[in-house]
C-alpha cells in the first residue's frame, strides 16, 4: 500500500469530507456485488475544483481513484481492487437547472435518480432510464454504467438521455463534452464514450440530460404460456411487428414458483408469463398497441390474457415481477441470492432458448437459477441461488456462468445489458470484445496514461472473478 498524503486531501476537501478510519474504509470496500477490497481513503468532494485538485494529486502520486455513487453496482465496479482513493460523489448532489424551454436539465453526479424525477414531476416530465435501484442510484453511477430499466424498451438507456457533460480528466483538466442540443454531429461523441466507461476515463462533475413528458395513459397486460418457446416466439413477434411496448417483461416458472413460495401470491404456475405495457398521450393509440400485443400473444398460444388501465389492476399484474427480487433472497434460508451473470442480452429470437439454456445449466450444476427480465430490450436477468459457505458451490457457479456466457456469445448476444462489467464479468467481456480490446486499451492509455482511474476494471480486470478480490461471503475451505 502506498502512503497517502492525508493532509493534502484534508486541505482540499476539508476535515468533514474525508474518512480514513479502518471501519469506514472497510464499508466503502463493498458495493452490491460479491466482491470486497480495501480503499486507502474516502474523500467526498463538494465542488468541481475539489475533484480537480484530488485528481491532480493522485495523478502526481500515482494513486488509484475510484468514483462512487450510490454503491448499488452489482459487478464490483467501485470495489477498489488496487486500493486508492474512493471519491464519494454523493456530496455533489445539486439539481442545477431544469430548462423546460430547451428540454434539458443539468445535474451534479450525486443527484439520486428518484430525486431528479421528483423535481421533474411538477413539470409533467420524467427522466426515463430509471433502473430498479433508482431510489439510491445516482446519475453519475447511471452514466458510468449506462444504466437502464423496465421502460428502456421504449425510452432507451442512460446513453440515449445524455446530451453533454463536464468531465474532469485524470490530469485534473476540466472538459466540456457534447452539447445542449438534441442532436450533434461535431466529431467524436466523447460524452457518449464516457457513458459506460465505469469511471476509467474521467470523473463526471455535471451532466446535461434530456427528459420526456409523463404519458397520460398507461395500460398493462399479462399472458401465460405453457412452453417457454411460445413465450419467446411471442416476444420476438411483438418486437418484429413494429409494436411499441413501454415495457415487455418475461418471468419463468422458477421465478413464478419462487414468488408463490415466499409471498404466497397464488400465481398460476405456468412455464412462462409475459407482462406488457403501452403508454401514450392518446388512449386510442395506447389501445392500438395493447391490442396488437394481445393478438400476438394469442397467436402464440398465450392464455389468461388481460390488460387494464386501472392503477390498482396494473399493480396486481406487476406484483409477481416486482416481488421477484425479494422472493429470491428469501427463497431458502441456506441459499443466498448472488448477482452473477445477471444481465446478459441476446437477440429477441433467442430469448426463449436462452431461458431454456439457463434452466439446463442450473440443473447440470445443481444450483438454482431463474430467468426473467426486460426481454423487450433483449435483456435477460438471472440470479444464482447458492450456499455461499460451500466452496464447491462457487466452483459450480463459476462453471455454470462460463457456460451461460459461451451460449450468449454463440448467438451474438452481449455479456452485460445494463449492470456493467466491473470485475464479475470481465472474463466473458474480454472474449466477446477480443478484437477491440487493443483499441480499448489505446483509448484508456491516451486519456489516462498513468492508469489512475478505476484501475483493474473492464478490460484490465482479472479473468478469474472468484479470486479477483476477497469474496464478501464466508466460504469454508
Amino acid at each position: 500500500m502506498k502512503t497517502i498524503d492525508e493532509e493534502r486531501l484534508r486541505a482540499i476537501v476539508g476535515e468533514a469530507n474525508i474518512k480514513t478510519d479502518p471501519s469506514d474504509l472497510y464499508i466503502y470496500g463493498s458495493d452490491s456485488s460479491v466482491h470486497h477490497a480495501m480503499p486507502w481513503a474516502v474523500v467526498r468532494p463538494k465542488t468541481t475544483a475539489q475533484v480537480q485538485a484530488v485528481l491532480r494529486y493522485a495523478n502526481e502520486a500515482l494513486i488509484p481513484v475510484i468514483a462512487r455513487g450510490g454503491g448499488s453496482g452489482m459487478c464490483g465496479q467501485t470495489v477498489p481492487v488496487m486500493g486508492g482513493i474512493i471519491l464519494d460523489m454523493k456530496g455533489m448532489n445539486k439539481i442545477l437547472e431544469i430548462n423546460l424551454a430547451d428540454v434539458y436539465c443539468r445535474v451534479e453526479p450525486g443527484v439520486v435518480d428518484d430525486d431528479l424525477n421528483l423535481a421533474l414531476k411538477p413539470h409533467g416530465m420524467f427522466f426515463p432510464p430509471t433502473p430498479a435501484s433508482s431510489r439510491i442510484a445516482t446519475i453519475g453511477g447511471e452514466i458510468a454504467n449506462n444504466a437502464s430499466g423496465v421502460r428502456s424498451v421504449k425510452y432507451g438507456a442512460t446513453r440515449d438521455a445524455v446530451l453533454g457533460m463536464k468531465v474532469v480528466l485524470p490530469n485534473g483538466d476540466l472538459v466540456n463534452l457534447g452539447a445542449r442540443t438534441r442532436v450533434e454531429a461535431s466529431g467524436y461523441q466523447l460524452h457518449k464514450l464516457m457513458v459506460g466507461s465505469e469511471g476509467t476515463l474521467g470523473i463526471v462533475v455535471e451532466a446535461t440530460l434530456s427528459f420526456v413528458p409523463i404519458p397520460e395513459f398507461r395500460c398493462m397486460g399479462i399472458a401465460n404460456f405453457n412452453t417457454l418457446k411460445d413465450a419467446g416466439d411471442a416476444i420476438s413477434s411483438i418486437m418484429a411487428s413494429g409494436a411499441i411496448p413501454s415495457m415487455l417483461e418475461l418471468v419463468d416458472d422458477v421465478a413464478i414458483k419462487a414468488v408463490n413460495k415466499t409471498m404466497n401470491l397464488g400465481l398460476k404456475e405456468v412455464a412462462a408469463a409475459l407482462i406488457f405495457e403501452a403508454d401514450g398521450m392518446v388512449r386510442e393509440a395506447v389501445d392500438y398497441e395493447i391490442n396488437k400485443m394481445k393478438v400476438i400473444c394469442q397467436k402464440h398460444n398465450g392464455e389468461d390474457i388481460y390488460a387494464s388501465y386501472d392503477p390498482k389492476e396494473r399493480d396486481k399484474i406487476f406484483l409477481g415481477r416486482k416481488s421477484l427480487f425479494p422472493a429470491l433472497s428469501k427463497y431458502d434460508d441456506n441459499l443466498a441470492s448472488t448477482s452473477l451473470a445477471d444481465d446478459m442480452a441476446v437477440p429477441y429470437s433467442k430469448m426463449a432458448e436462452m431461458a431454456g439454456k439457463i434452466h439446463e445449466i442450473a440443473d447440470k450444476y445443481n444450483i438454482v437459477m431463474t430467468a426473467y427480465g426486460h426481454c423487450g430490450s433483449g435483456c435477460m436477468h438471472t440470479k444464482i441461488l447458492m450456499d455461499t459457505k460451500r466452496k464447491d458451490q462457487w466452483e459450480s457457479a463459476r462453471k455454470a456462468i462460463t457456460e451461460v456466457y459461451d451460449y450468449v456469445r454463440s448467438v451474438n448476444g452481449t455479456t452485460s445489458a445494463e449492470h456493467g462489467i466491473g470485475l464479475s464479468k470481465a472474463e466473458s467481456f474480454k472474449i466477446e470484445k477480443a478484437d477491440s480490446l487493443h483499441l480499448l486499451s489505446l483509448i484508456k492509455k491516451a486519456v489516462d496514461p498513468n492508469n489512475i482511474l478505476n484501475p483493474g476494471k473492464l478490460s484490465q480486470a482479472p479473468e478469474d472473478w472468484v479470486t479477483a478480490t476477497n469474496l464478501r461471503y464466508s466460504v469454508n475451505s
Partner: protein, 316 residues
C-alpha cells in the same frame, strides 16, 4: 478465505442472514442518520457490512466499529423496508452485546452529563425501555443495548442533564438553533413542524432541488426521534422567534414503540391551556397523528395548518 471468529457469540447466529442480505442498499433512503450525514458508512447496510467484517474476522473489534453499530436510533424503517427480510436492528443489538462484553462501550444513544445530574432518578421511571439505572459512585448509567434513543429521558430531566449522543441535530440545543435559523432566514416563515422519525417526512431527499437554497418556505420540518422527547421549552421556542404556529406530528395511538405519542399529546394539551391563559389562540399549537409512511396525509395536515395560520395572522 475467511474463518469466523468465536468471540461474537450473540452475533454468530446471524451468519446466514449476513450472507442473505443482498446489499442492494435500498435501506439508505429510509435511514435518517444517512440522510443527515450523507456518509454511506452511516447507512444501515454499512452496519451489516461491519457486523459481517467483525464476525468473519476480516475486521478486528475496535472503537470505530463499535461506534458504527451503536449509532442507530431504532426507528426500524430500514427493517420494515428490507426486501430480503433482514432483521437489521436485531443484528445490531446482538453485535452491540458482543462488543460490550469485549469492553467496547459505544457512545450509546442517550447519556447523562453527570456534572449536571441532580440524581432525582425521574428518568429511571420515565424510560419506557428500562435502560437507565443508578449505580453508586457512577451516577446514572445507560444500558446502550436497551436504550432505543426515543429521548423521553431528555424531556423529563429537570436539570437538562440527559442528552442524545451523536444526535444528528436532534438535541434540544440543535433543534432550537435549527428552528431559530429557519425563522430568521425565511421571509415567509410561519411554522415549525416537529415530526417524529416515523412520519416519512416529505422534503427529505438526498439531492438538493434546483431552488432549494433560495426557495422561500412557510414551514420547516424538524425531525426528532420521538414526539415523547419534545420538551415544553422546545415547543415554545419558535414562538420567541415570531413563529405563527407550531405543529407536532406523532404516531397514531397504540403505534408508538415508546408510548411517546401519549406523552406528547398530554404536553401539547397542557401548553395549549398555557397559551390560552396568556391570550394566544391555542390553535397555534397543534398535534397530529400520522400513520408511518403516510406522506400524503402528513403534507395535507401541514397545508391545512399553514392555511389556518394565514387566517390567524402573526401573534400580536
Amino acid at each position: 478465505m475467511k474463518n469466523k471468529t468465536k468471540a461474537f457469540k450473540h452475533l454468530e447466529k446471524w451468519e446466514g442472514t449476513l450472507a442473505n442480505c443482498i446489499r442492494c442498499g435500498y435501506c439508505f433512503e429510509h435511514c435518517p442518520l444517512f440522510k443527515y450525514t450523507g456518509w454511506e458508512s452511516d447507512a444501515p447496510r454499512a452496519k451489516i457490512i461491519t457486523a459481517f467484517g467483525l464476525l468473519s474476522g476480516e475486521m478486528g473489534p475496535s472503537e470505530s466499529a463499535a461506534h458504527k453499530l451503536f449509532s442507530c436510533f431504532y426507528c426500524k424503517r430500514c427493517e420494515a423496508a428490507c426486501s430480503s427480510g433482514v432483521k437489521l436492528t436485531e443484528v445490531f443489538t446482538d453485535a452491540k452485546k458482543d462488543l460490550i462484553e469485549m469492553g467496547f462501550n459505544g457512545p450509546g444513544t442517550t447519556s447523562t452529563t453527570q456534572m449536571n445530574c441532580a440524581r432525582c432518578l425521574i428518568c429511571l421511571g420515565a424510560c419506557p425501555h428500562e435502560a437507565r439505572s443508578h449505580e453508586k459512585g457512577r451516577g446514572i448509567v445507560v444500558d446502550p443495548v436497551k436504550c432505543k434513543g426515543c429521548g423521553i429521558c431528555i424531556e423529563v430531566c429537570p436539570a437538562g442533564a440527559a442528552k442524545i449522543q451523536n444526535s444528528f441535530g436532534t438535541n434540544r440545543k440543535d433543534l432550537m438553533e435549527r428552528a431559530s435559523l429557519f425563522m430568521t432566514t425565511h421571509t415567509s416563515a410561519k411554522a415549525i413542524v416537529f415530526a417524529c422519525n416515523w412520519s416519512y417526512y416529505p422534503d427529505l431527499q438526498a439531492s438538493a432541488l434546483p431552488d432549494a437554497e433560495t426557495r422561500d418556505k412557510s414551514y420547516e420540518i424538524l425531525v426528532n426521534m420521538c414526539g415523547g422527547r419534545l420538551e415544553r421549552q422546545l415547543l415554545m421556542a419558535p414562538f420567541i422567534h415570531n413563529a405563527w404556529g407550531v405543529m407536532v406530528a406523532v404516531c397514531p395511538d397504540e403505534k408508538c414503540e415508546h408510548n411517546g405519542n401519549l406523552r406528547a399529546k398530554e404536553r401539547v394539551e397542557d401548553l395549549r391551556n398555557t397559551l390560552k391563559s396568556i391570550r394566544i389562540d391555542p390553535e397555534r399549537l397543534q398535534l397530529v397523528q400520522i400513520p408511518a409512511g403516510d406522506k400524503t396525509k402528513f403534507q395535507a395536515e401541514i397545508d391545512t395548518f399553514v392555511d389556518r395560520l394565514n387566517v390567524l395572522g402573526p401573534i400580536r
